[in-house]
Structures are given as structure tokens and as C-alpha cells.
Symmetry: D3
Subunit: 335 residues, 6 copies
Amino acid sequence: MKKVVTFGEIMMRLSTPNHARFQQSTSFDINFGGGEANVSSSLAIMGIPASHVTRFPDNDLGTAAINTYRKYGLSMQDVVRGGERLGIYYVEQGAAMRPSKVIYDRANSSFASLKPSEFNWEQIFEDAQWFHFTGITPAISASAAQACLEAAQTASRLGLKVSADVGYRSNLWKWGKKPSEIMPELIENCDMIICSKGDAEDMFGIVPNDEKRSFKSVCQQLTDCFPKLKKVLSTKRGQISASHNTLVGKCWNGFEMLETKQINIPDIVDRIGGGDAFMAGFIYGEIIYQNTQKAIEFGVAASALKHTIEGDFNLSSVKEIEVVMNGDVSGKLRR
Amino acid sequence: MKKVVTFGEIMMRLSTPNHARFQQSTSFDINFGGGEANVSSSLAIMGIPASHVTRFPDNDLGTAAINTYRKYGLSMQDVVRGGERLGIYYVEQGAAMRPSKVIYDRANSSFASLKPSEFNWEQIFEDAQWFHFTGITPAISASAAQACLEAAQTASRLGLKVSADVGYRSNLWKWGKKPSEIMPELIENCDMIICSKGDAEDMFGIVPNDEKRSFKSVCQQLTDCFPKLKKVLSTKRGQISASHNTLVGKCWNGFEMLETKQINIPDIVDRIGGGDAFMAGFIYGEIIYQNTQKAIEFGVAASALKHTIEGDFNLSSVKEIEVVMNGDVSGKLRR
Amino acid sequence: MKKVVTFGEIMMRLSTPNHARFQQSTSFDINFGGGEANVSSSLAIMGIPASHVTRFPDNDLGTAAINTYRKYGLSMQDVVRGGERLGIYYVEQGAAMRPSKVIYDRANSSFASLKPSEFNWEQIFEDAQWFHFTGITPAISASAAQACLEAAQTASRLGLKVSADVGYRSNLWKWGKKPSEIMPELIENCDMIICSKGDAEDMFGIVPNDEKRSFKSVCQQLTDCFPKLKKVLSTKRGQISASHNTLVGKCWNGFEMLETKQINIPDIVDRIGGGDAFMAGFIYGEIIYQNTQKAIEFGVAASALKHTIEGDFNLSSVKEIEVVMNGDVSGKLRR
Amino acid sequence: MKKVVTFGEIMMRLSTPNHARFQQSTSFDINFGGGEANVSSSLAIMGIPASHVTRFPDNDLGTAAINTYRKYGLSMQDVVRGGERLGIYYVEQGAAMRPSKVIYDRANSSFASLKPSEFNWEQIFEDAQWFHFTGITPAISASAAQACLEAAQTASRLGLKVSADVGYRSNLWKWGKKPSEIMPELIENCDMIICSKGDAEDMFGIVPNDEKRSFKSVCQQLTDCFPKLKKVLSTKRGQISASHNTLVGKCWNGFEMLETKQINIPDIVDRIGGGDAFMAGFIYGEIIYQNTQKAIEFGVAASALKHTIEGDFNLSSVKEIEVVMNGDVSGKLRR
Amino acid sequence: MKKVVTFGEIMMRLSTPNHARFQQSTSFDINFGGGEANVSSSLAIMGIPASHVTRFPDNDLGTAAINTYRKYGLSMQDVVRGGERLGIYYVEQGAAMRPSKVIYDRANSSFASLKPSEFNWEQIFEDAQWFHFTGITPAISASAAQACLEAAQTASRLGLKVSADVGYRSNLWKWGKKPSEIMPELIENCDMIICSKGDAEDMFGIVPNDEKRSFKSVCQQLTDCFPKLKKVLSTKRGQISASHNTLVGKCWNGFEMLETKQINIPDIVDRIGGGDAFMAGFIYGEIIYQNTQKAIEFGVAASALKHTIEGDFNLSSVKEIEVVMNGDVSGKLRR
Amino acid sequence: MKKVVTFGEIMMRLSTPNHARFQQSTSFDINFGGGEANVSSSLAIMGIPASHVTRFPDNDLGTAAINTYRKYGLSMQDVVRGGERLGIYYVEQGAAMRPSKVIYDRANSSFASLKPSEFNWEQIFEDAQWFHFTGITPAISASAAQACLEAAQTASRLGLKVSADVGYRSNLWKWGKKPSEIMPELIENCDMIICSKGDAEDMFGIVPNDEKRSFKSVCQQLTDCFPKLKKVLSTKRGQISASHNTLVGKCWNGFEMLETKQINIPDIVDRIGGGDAFMAGFIYGEIIYQNTQKAIEFGVAASALKHTIEGDFNLSSVKEIEVVMNGDVSGKLRR
């Protein structure tokens, strides 16, 4: 099978154990994560060949990051080494009505200071079928945006499927351009995107133009705007507490709004990466099932299971996800 | 008070901490457990004299197993040392819709290679009032089945109460005989058993023969089939998620189907051993209360409390169980 | 801003990690707590200048206690060193229907053996606006009761607001006097108290004298009885399980019974100190909002958040509490 | 084989992990220890039947203490329950030139408040061959001294060997009598004691009366003074650092001063209980080898191994100790 | 660069943390190790392409083992899945005069039950320059011995360098043949071996035939006996204590006995795998330096560093090893 | 007593537990440290009033840093909040011949981006007797160098003693100036400095000008060069291994070279901050003993004890240091 390639920053995630607050914790648990690598590593764990492209400092922390992903079978062979530092994000795990808190410390990272010329996209995409990126990458620095554009264009030209998670992060985009100056040219290369109503407005200035102010109306405008774009995905998260969410997945396929049943997610272990697990599940479904309704159902089941697992990416097998997709959420002991 | 004796394999249980998946855990928590010793150790903690009979390798792991039970007051004086290894079972604790996973590594254990002649049952049952075994023991090896039969027959002959948990384990019974060739002769010695509808079919070929395909019909056939058998127990577990179950206890006493109220078990800490805690509670109730309805109610309360405790057996006192049995599930702080 | 002063015993709290039972734990987590210091430390964390007065042994454990509170900005400058030992309380964290258990080992502590002359209250109250104590302090020893009375009288005379949590602890009061011989003289100095129906009877012999046997009737008698007393607070805790409570706050302001909405507290991390967090929140509200309804609402929100935090006192900022007070209990991730 | 009986206080030991200072530790490791139980539990682990007599509070901590010793095969059947609290001692593990620190919090313990009538010594000594106590017991309280005297006299009368570790603890003996008023009557019952030069002076007013001010001279006076006394033991500890000691064992047998070679003890894991391990080893040697020279050599080897083991008592088998006694201190890996 | 291939069993290693004894530990740290994979993983970490061939059960433990090695860059692409269980070895870390203890539980492992036909050696050795195995592999089972022979013969035929660690393990070789019936045919394919005097006698019946009973004499006989064999390696370990060793490396190159200086290894963190780290270092030196004296010096430096690292294999870079090889053992802080 | 003020960056230190390598660690222990705050916090712990001046980001990590120092009694009242991030340094603890490794990630910290105008030195130095800084501060950024100069000049003008640790860090000084352009003007304000031979050359271009190339010659040139400078300190560290060092302290007082005995530091727990502990000890000695020989002896003893304590600063009391200063390095257990 041909591989899936992702491109984006990976940060070291330092999280307080046992719901401790930053003020009281005496240690951090170490994980690594990034919106794009979360997708490709989840795919690798499901058995889909996958490779992640990024840039790490040439020190032991960069090596530790590489090793973490190699462990789970994700190819790191096209990772570039250089720059000053590994970006960090700190996580304080919440509980009940106390939200989890994230402190980013990612400025001036090795990824932010990448040079587009360090990546030979034609070579990277040899033997690949799919390229996925997110709206975080162009938000990091001018050079990251440029490299991302070259990647998307090359992938599209070489006939790969191209997908993107168009997530607007208000605390990024500090390098001089607005999302609306950058994102449209990127999205022109995409076959499918995740994009919420809010993202559509922030990124493309698209607002619903029907009476119900519906998401469908946004999707229609998006597919009108970007002729290559065939599917627009979205998830609806019900936020009962930091320990209890619900999730519904949606996909506008150009004709109708497909939708999953709502899944109940109580007793959350780690909510971070839930959206990326959905995306990974969706890509798996598109490649293997070749059925979009099944793909979003698999995506939602994958996302639900991710919430029961510590760390940014989804250590669930296809078999485990299919049990949940098929409606068995009983968690019955397997002997 | 005369003692309760149990016979069966004890394994080392290695479980991942904090709901970690096998793939990500860097350590295992050590516990010990076995369906029969879980019953006798729970009884010892409730103050009922109890002794467990098994076979351990003559190494530090066997000694560690003995010490664990001695700690809680269970007599290990009749344990035989010999054979090659201590059986292991690995546990990955699930959460929400992710089930706990168990990997067994128990083949060729010291228990499986026991010789029936190593156990002097007449001597072991001196000063005993009750013998309990499970359907796991005869499933392990021919010699284990033989020793179990000798134990049950001796106990019956000496006038002890004999009980069994007739649980069918499809991943055992590999030594050449089917359960239906072995179990009937064993159950002939029993005064009471735990036996689900499914077990009755797998073990004895008994299926409900009334219109409602009722459990009562199964119980009647069982007591008809085994004249010594007076009570048939069962539990009904509602499986809402890996972290949330419900439980009802039942007992056919030859005349009517006694039943407890359903108990709600949210926020599960460790579900393993829940059935054995019910059995221990039931034996306690039979001995102390001499009232079968109260015995199943105490059993269900004991089982519920077990779910809040890490490890295979029930570290709850009679007083604590009685609070729950009497309907106080508020968990109100005791100062 | 002028400071809030509290007076009372601080104990070392030794709690079993991960819901372990006392029988199985191999380590204790160390925290410190006391009903009065829990209030002042929570206030210090909210940015209100606060000082706690107590007595510690002159050893490393006493110093560790001081350091713990200094860390969070509570002044310990008026702490007296002397006496034999630091009181201890052991905590076994419960779950679901299993209650948390507390074992006190506080007799003969440095606090119990204090001499009233060791505290110069006039000097301690310099630059103070509020004095808070609890019914635990006079219950510990004759000298503690005497020092508490001197403190309350001095505070009242100097024009500080005086508040008390009138909690009756049946396992204290062993030094020769009954609460009813001691408490009235103390409460005469108070502007506001927390007092449940049961406390009112135990401490002051006051029972409801209306048909509905209402709390309001108790409050009216209390304010009649103690002319300086203007507000009587109470919380109503719904005890669904050790892991799930609800809370309502009430305040009789002399005219009407103010009441908060009920807040739902699932997935409890640590229930201890919940009442003190309410008191701290209420004092904050009285000082900053100068609005009693808002003060009890802030108190209830503060208390709810405390339940999600390990340890006796509330590591929550004003901003975090206000989010909950304003009805957002979604625990939505803050990036 | 007949059993060895010991009598004395057991405390909960709370120690900081990983050499942490009291000021910085956030948890305590839990162990239990006492100078007498350290001896009997070490003997039980070596396969000598042994029983310890003490008094514990009737709470979960007392039960946890009992369970700890039962685990290792020490009989706790004659333990009395009652009194207020379990004594505690806190340990901060040192390193290099930083000494370990101990904070005692044992006043008013269940043991200190025992009543001599609670112990039926004739019954306790049934089937016993040896009674061992230490100078700590009579130092705790008048009633403990009285019970200890009754025990020693009964043991002597019944023909048991009686031994004592005459260690003077300057921070005890607060109950009104001096050691010299109490100890002689106790030692009159002893066949052998451990007693340093300093102890002899503090306890019995005996100072060397030869020119060299030799320990031999002290021993001779002791055996003159106490006609029943046949052997006087002592250890000489070389204190290179908190992590590195040396040890020599000595025994005056009435005729000559037996002495072991010096053993080197580098890389100390836990020094506490080293003397008790020597005593246990010596008793083992006297009972099994019936050779005093071999007994002190076994004692020194046992003590050395204790220093490599966390906790108060010696988790070493006879076989392991004999390897060291026979001169192999290479620590060569056993596959 | 062409790769190095190793073949042999990998076991899960479960070790007690912090020098705890088996009797007292409540958890095991998880590592993986095997005499051959320890060599190839160390080489991969040094940047030499390497692949390990083995057989794992098709469960999560087998996958966890694969992931561990993938993490460090060792190719696991030729691993076969099948069989019943993952072999285990338990480690109790010693200290000072207390030896570390190992309990093996490896019988009936997936590796032991391999079928030689499962390995296509011609394909496995594509693009390889070196094959390394140990005397443990043929000791495990008849089929393992057969597969090892096929591998060695194929490697030799294809012109790879072949090396072996001829270590005799008395607790293996239970499948029916003696080492002397199996090993000679294997060693005929080797270019270099590690072989102690004792191994030479146990495996080949070769004893020194000169007056000094020298190792040199053994080496000469070995190279006479096996014409392809050019180098015989050995290490001499000084065993001062479990925490302090010394090491010397030797190599008979057919002409002279090369020897390193003795290196001092105090403050040992983990001694296991020290010999394999030497072998890996030697292979590195042969490939990169092409100088046998330098190769054994690099090997000894690598081995010394391994002793400071937890786990079976050597997480040291070439640069770090060269510092030690060049005589700097000061451990000076690198800022 | 008047206070000691220090000025400089504080970083979060993230270190691997139990000597783990960066590649294998799954958690970091959290400490905080900085060459200047290490001095003032050690002084605060010794009972000398002390205050540290720095700049932290206005997030929970900055607050956690403040709280850590407040805990130990260091005043943080003059800390400025602002800027982007808290600098980090990662520590991998070495052992034996494996050095500890440090990875700095301190660029663009809140401290580096400080504005000199944020610090009102006249007000900060109210009630102060001593100002201490290091050569790290001017190496960080132009504005840090400028603020440091203003601080030193103000302190000198106000009559405070001024001291500096002139340590050259080759990985800093990236902001455009060389040390020799900045340091002389700073040192003109100093009464005493720590300065090695190497520092003197790097910072001031001063090399020994006598035959023996002695340190004394360097000192004489320094005091000639800087008229206010009266004392030049230095330590000589013997680097036996990462776990074993030796230390000698020296001080040129303008007349003679004072020197301490060499202290042996085996079994090192944490070597970082050893130099700062010496400086703190020296300042203590100057203030309290007013005797320079005693001050360096106290400094060396303090430094030795620091090596036994985890973390950057010295949690030792004056009493503990004096025991070591007086020659008792036996680490004898204190009961």
C-alpha cells in the first residue's frame, strides 16, 4: 500500500500527572504531539504506511522525539535536523468543571526556522498516496507557510489525495500575514478539509448565507470557492465537563450532509488529540472502506477511544475501533 | 470456627498502572490472584478462618505469592512447592468504552504439573467446614482435574459443605477432555454452585426447557440432575462501560428464585475478582447469617465494594460491607 | 488591602495514593491542612493578604508545614514554635460507594499544648480586617480554647470582622468542658458563622421552633441570641457517592434566606476541604463584591473547584472561580 | 523447632524516598520497625519459628503493622489491641557526609499505655526456647518496664534462653526512673546481652578497671555482677560516611574475646536495623550452629546484608548470609 | 553501509526498582533484552545499520518488544510472529555484597518453538555484511539450533563476517543434545568468537596445554581446530562488589594477545548486558576503525558506559564512548 | 539583620529521574535554579534575610517558580512579571564515567527581554547589606547587562558589599559584545569575586606573570586592576568521576592565599549548584564569622553537603554545615 505523508511541527508535551495543578506538580510526564503527526502515527498504528516530515534540533530531545514515533512504526526518514530548540507545550489535566490548561512555548522552534529548500517534496512523495496538513503549519512562520504551500502543490500535481484540518489558532499567525492571505492558495490543492463554521469565517471570510445560518451553506460556498474540494468534514463536541464529552461527526460530500450517531465519552483519560484521531480514522476509512459514511463513523469511534488513552495519538487497533464503530461501547473485559 | 478451604491456581497478575496500554507502559504493578484464592482471602479478611491449597515453584516468586496471602491472614500451610513456573496474567486496565485486556501466560505452571498424590485431603480438611473450587481447576490439566475430584469427594465424604463456581473458560480445557466429560462427576459432590445459563449448556448440556427459556428452568434441571445440589447462584452484570457496571445476585433455593436489588457500580477502580467477591460474601452469609436471601445481598454488596479496590480480592471488612448491604451507597466521609 | 487572620491547628495529612486502602498502600502522599489555614491559604491564593497563627514543633516537620504555606503566599510570621509533635491525620481515598476514611492522631500536639500567653493578639491583628476561627480550636484543649477566646475578643474590640465555622466534632472536646460551656462566649464576638441545624443543637441547644422545623427558625434564634451576629451560613451537600456530590450554599442575612443554585460535582479528586473552600470564597465575596448573594455563589463555585484538586486547600484563582460562578461548568480546554 | 519470642514496641517508619530531605519530600515510604521485632522477623525469614508480642491500636494502621509481619511468617497471634495510637518515626535518608536523620513521635503510643496484665507470659512462652528484649522497652513507660520484667522472669523460670540488647537511648527514660534503677533486675534473667562500653556505664555504672580501659574488663565485671550471664556481645562500627561503614562483631564468652574479621559495607541502601540483624544472626548461630564464633560471624554477615536492603529487618535467607560469611562479598550475578 | 544481522531470543525483563528484593517489590520495571539483540541494538544506536531476527507471539507483548527496538532504530522487519508466549526473565538488582538475582521463565517461548523454515536467510542477509549469534540460541531448542546453523552457514557462504559469543549456560541445553555435539559445526562458520577458558572446555573440550595453563594456549588450539577462525576475544571482569567491577578486554589475533588497560567501573547502575556492549563495541571497531587493538579498547569503553545505564543495551553514542576510550573517565559535567 | 540581594535569571530545570538517559526517560523532575538565586535561597535557608530580583512570564510556570523560592523563605517581592517564556535547562544525571548532560533552552526568556527601567534599584536595596551577581547575567542580553551594571553601581554607591561569580559561559555572550567589553566596568564595583585562572584570561585578558604561572599572580593583577576589589576566591574541584569529586576552597585576601583542606565528596546525589553553595557559604561566613579563613571553610563544607541534595540550592542548616566544617564527615545517624 502507498503511504500517507504528513507535515507539521511536533512539540514535546509536558503534562502534570494525576490531575495535579501546575502549582503543585513536582514532575512532568513526557509525551510528544502535533496535529499532523498525531494523524500519521495513528494511521501507522492502524497498519497504514505513513511518514511524517518535520524539523528537529540536533540534540537528544530531537532524537527522543524521533524515537517515540519510530517506536509506533511511523517513518521519520525525511525528518530534517537543525535549528535551535524543540517547541514545548505544557498541559495541566483538568477534571469535572476544572478545564485542562495548555501553556505553549513554541516560538523560535526548529520547525519555525525551517528553510523550504530543506525539503525535497518530489522525493518525499515517492510511493505516497495522500498528503495531510493543518492550518497550524502556515500559522507558525513565513518559511513554514511557504514549505507547506510547496508540499501541497507538489502533492496535488503528483496526484496524491490532499487533506487539511483548517483549524484557526488565534495565538499563532504572528509572522506578518493574516490567514486569509495564505490559506486560500493552500486549500486550492485540497480534496477534503475539516473546517468548522468559525474556521470558515476566520480563514476565508465565508459565513452562512441561508436563513438557518447552516453549516451546509458554508460547505456549499467552500466547494464552490475551491473547485478541487469534494468533502468538508466537521465534528460537534458536546462539552458536559472536562471528564465527559459527546461527539458527532459530519461530512458534506457535495450532495448531502452525512452524520454519525452521537457517541458518549465519559471518564475521559486524555482529551487532547481527539480531533486528530477523528481525522486519522476518516483517512483510514476513505482508503480502506472507500465509503464516506463508514469513514466518519470509524473516525468518531477512533476519536472516542483516543479519549481513553494518555498521550496525543491513538494507540488503538483497527479491530478495537471497529468494535466501538459497531455499537459495542460496553467496555466488556476481554479474557 | 471451622475453616473454609479452597483449591486452585494462583497467578501473578501484572497490570499496567493508570489505565496505560500495554504498548506504552514502562512498569507493571504486581498483584496475585486466582478464582479460588480470591474467595478464601476475602473470607480471611472478613474474619472467617480460611486456607488455600495450591502449588508454587520453589523460587522467590512463589514465596512472594505465599507472603501476599499470609499478609491478609489466609493460611498457606498446605501449599506444595515444586514445578517450573508461576503462571502469569497481564492486565491492561480499560476506561469508558475501552475494555480491559487480559493476556494469559499460564501454561506449564507449577499448578498444572501437580501430582494428585502431593495433596493429603483428609489432613487438609481437618477442622474444616467448607470446600470451594471452580471450573477453572479441572480445565487446567488432567492431574489438576484428578486432584480436584479427590478433594471434592473427600470433602463431601467428610461432611463439609462443598461449593463450586462452574465458570466455563473457552481458552482452557486443552488437555484432552471436554468439560462435559469431567464436570458432572465433580458437581455431584456440591451443595451449591454458581452457574450461568451459558455455563449450564457448555458444561452439562442443559438448556432451558420452558417457554420463557428461563434461568429457573435451568436451575430445576440442575437440581434434578445432581441430587446433592440445593442452591444455584448467578449474577447478572449490566455492562454500561468499562468504568460503570450494575449487578444483581440471584439464588434458586429449590423453591423460589431469590434476587437482590440492582446495585449501581460507577467509577470502577478494578473490576477483576468481582464475581469471586460475590462468592466469598455469599459463603460468609451462609455461615454467619444462615439466611440465603441475606447471603446474596451481602454477596452483592461485597462485590460492589471489590470494584472500588485495586487487586483481585476484596479488602473490605464485614462492617463496611454491611453498610452497603443496608443501602448506604453514599460513600460519606468517615472522620 | 488589610489582611485576614486565621487561628487553628495545622496537621500533616498522610494520604494513600490512587485510592489505595490503608492495608495495601506502601507510601503516603504528604499534604498539610487544618480547617482555618485552609481558609486563609485559599484567600492568599486569591490575592487577599492573609496570615495564619498556630504552633508547630521546632523540628523539620514543623518547618516543612510552614514552608508549604509560605509557598502559596500565606504569611506564617506569627507562628509559634514549641511543644512535642505535629498532629497527623491519615486519609484513605474512597471511590464510588466506598467512603474515604480518616484516622486522626492529633492528641498532645504542639498546638494542643500552646500557652495563651505565647500569642500577642494586638500585635497579630495590626493591619488586619478580618479574623476567622472554627469550633475545632476550642475543642482541642483548655489552653487552645482560652487563646481562641482572647483572639476573638481582641479582634472584636479592634473592630475586625469576626467569623467562625461552628462545626461540632464529636471525637474532640475531651479536655473537660462541653461545647455549650465554651462556644456561646466565643460566638458573641462573631459577625457571621457557618452553622448547620445539627451544630446549633450540639453547640447551643437551639432547635427549630416552627412547624417545618426549618433552618430559618434556627438562624433567627441564633441572631436573637447573639446580637452581634448578622449572617448565618450553611451548605447542603448531596452525597450521591464518594466520587459524586452536589452542593448548595445558603445564607440567612437577618431578613431572608439567600440560596445558590445546586452545583453538580462529579469525578471528585479530593473532597476534603470543600467546606473551607466555601468559607474562603464567601469571605472573598464579602470583602471584594460586598454582596452576600454573590459571596455565597462565589463560595459554592470555589468549593466545587476545590473538589477537583488534591490537597486540603483551594489552588484556584479568582478568574477560574468566576468562570464556574458564571455557570460555565463545561471544563472546556483552554489553549 | 521451638520458637523465639520477642517483646517490644513496633513503630510505623515513614521515610523520604531517594535521599530527599524532609523539606523537599512530597511522599513517605511506609515501613514498620522496632528493635525487637526486627530480630524476630529476621529469624522467621531464616526459617526459625518466631513470635512477636506487642500492643497496637485497634485501627487500620495497627492492622497494617500486623499484616506486614505476618507476610514474612512472623507470628503475631499474641499481639494485644488497644490504646490510642501507633508510634511513628520519620527517617530522612542521608548520603555521603550528610547523616540520616530520625524524628521520633512515639509518646503516648498503644505500647506505652499497655497494662502488664494484658500479657499471659506462661501461655505466650508455651513451645518457646528463647526470649529476647531490648533496653528500649523498659525505657518507654513504667508499665512497659513492668511487663518486660515479668516476661524476663517468666522466661527464665521456664528455662528459656534469655537475651537482651542493652542499648541506652538518651531520648527515652522519661517516665520517672533511671536505667540503673530498672535494668539490673532485668539483666539478672539474661544468658547473653549486647552491651557496649558506653551502655555498661549508663546502665550499670560499670567502667573498665584495667589499665587499657578494655571492653574485656567491662565484660568480666558484667559476668561477675550477673551470675546467669554467660556471653557479652558487641559490634564495632566504622563510620566512613553515611554510605560506607565497616563492622566487626565481638563476644566475650567468659574465657576469651571472640572477634570476627572486619567486613566492608559500601554503597549502603539502608543502615537502620543493622544491629538488630546482627542479633538475629547471632541467635540463629547459637541455635543452629551451637558455636559462638560461627554465630558472631553469621551475625556480622547478616548485618552487612541488611545494609543493602530497604526497611528495618533483614530479608536475607540463610543461604545468602552463608555466602557472605564464607567470604564471598563479590556480589557476583546469580543467573 | 551494509547492515549487521543478529539472531536470537528476546525476553521481557521485569526488574525490581530501587534495589528492592523480590519479596518486597510492588512493581516491576519493564525492559527487553537478549544477548544478540543487545548487540544489534547497541550498533544501531551507534549508527551502524542493523537488523534483528527472532520470533514473537502475536500479542501486545510481542508488539511492545518490537516497538522497543524500532524506537532505537533497529530493524525488526524480519521478525516472525507465532507461538505461545514471550520468554521472561526477572531481575532483582543487588547492591554491595548482595548479588543481583535472575529468575528465568523462558521455556516454551515463541522463539523455542520456531520452525527453521520460517526464516529465509538468503533474503534476510541481502545487503548485510556481518552475522552475529551466541551460544544461547542453539541451547534453547533443536529447532533453534537448526535455524542458527542454517543462518551461520548461509552467512558464511554469502561472504558475511560471522561472529559468535560462545557462552555456556548450564541452565539451558535441555533439549537432548550436549553443546559439544552442536557447537563445533556452528563455530566452523565463524571469523571471530568470544570464548572464555571455561567455555572452551565446556563447549569444545579444549583445555590449556602449556605449563601456565594460559588462555593463549586455548586460543591457539581453537584457531587450529577451526581454520576459518581468526580472532578469539575474552573479557576479564574483576568483581569487587555488585556495585563495583573492573574490566579488561583481550583478543588473540592469531599472532599475539592484544589487551586493553583495566577500566574501573564503580557506582554500577545496571550490570546486565555488559558483555554484549563489549561485543557491539568490538564489531563497531572492526567495521569502522579496522584495527583490532582499537576495537577491543572501544569495546571495553562501551561496556563500562553500559554499566551506568538501566536496561540491557547500551544507549551510548560513538562520541561518548570515544571520550572514555581516550581515557577521560572523569564524568565531567557537559554544559 | 540587613538583607542580601541577588539578581539574575531563574530557569526551570527538568531532570531525568534515577540516572535515566534523555532517550529513555518518560518523565522529568521539576526544579528551579539559577546561579544567583541559588546563592540567595541558600542564604535564606541559613537564616540570612535575602531577596532575589528577576523577571518571570506572567503564567503558571512563572508563579510556580516564585512559589518554590517563597517556600524556602527567599523574598520574591521585587520580581517583575512580563515577557514570553521561562528559560529551561534539561539535565540528564550521569553516573561513574558517564557525565551528566545539560541542554539549555533559555533564549528569548522573560529575563533576556527585561527592560532596565523595570527595576528600581534604590528601592530594591533599601535595608540591604550585600549585592551578588554573576557573569551569566551580562552574558544573556544587552538589557540584562545594562540592568546588572545599574544594580552594581547603585549597590556600590549605597555602600553595600558587592560580590560576583565571574564565570565565563562560552555558550552565552551572543548578543554582540565580548565579555572583555562589559565585565571590567561591572567588576569595578565589586569587593570580592570568584574567578578562576581561565575566567581571568577570558574576561579580563589577565594571565599569570610569574614563573610558576600561579593563581596568586592572577589575583595580584586583579586587585591591582580593580582598586575596590579586596578578595579573590576560587575552588579547585577534583573530578574522579561523575559520582565522586573532591573540593578545595581558596581566597586571596590581598596578603596571602588562604586555603581549606581538601574535602572528599563520594556518592554524589546532585552536583549542580555546588559552586553556588560555596559562594553562599562564603557570604554567610563573611557576615556572621567576619573571618575569611572560616568563611571559605564554611563555604567548602556547604558545597560538599549540597552534593548530597537533589536540586540546585543547598537545603542545609548552619548547624549541619558546621558539623562538616568541624571535620565530622562520618554521616553518623542522628536519632
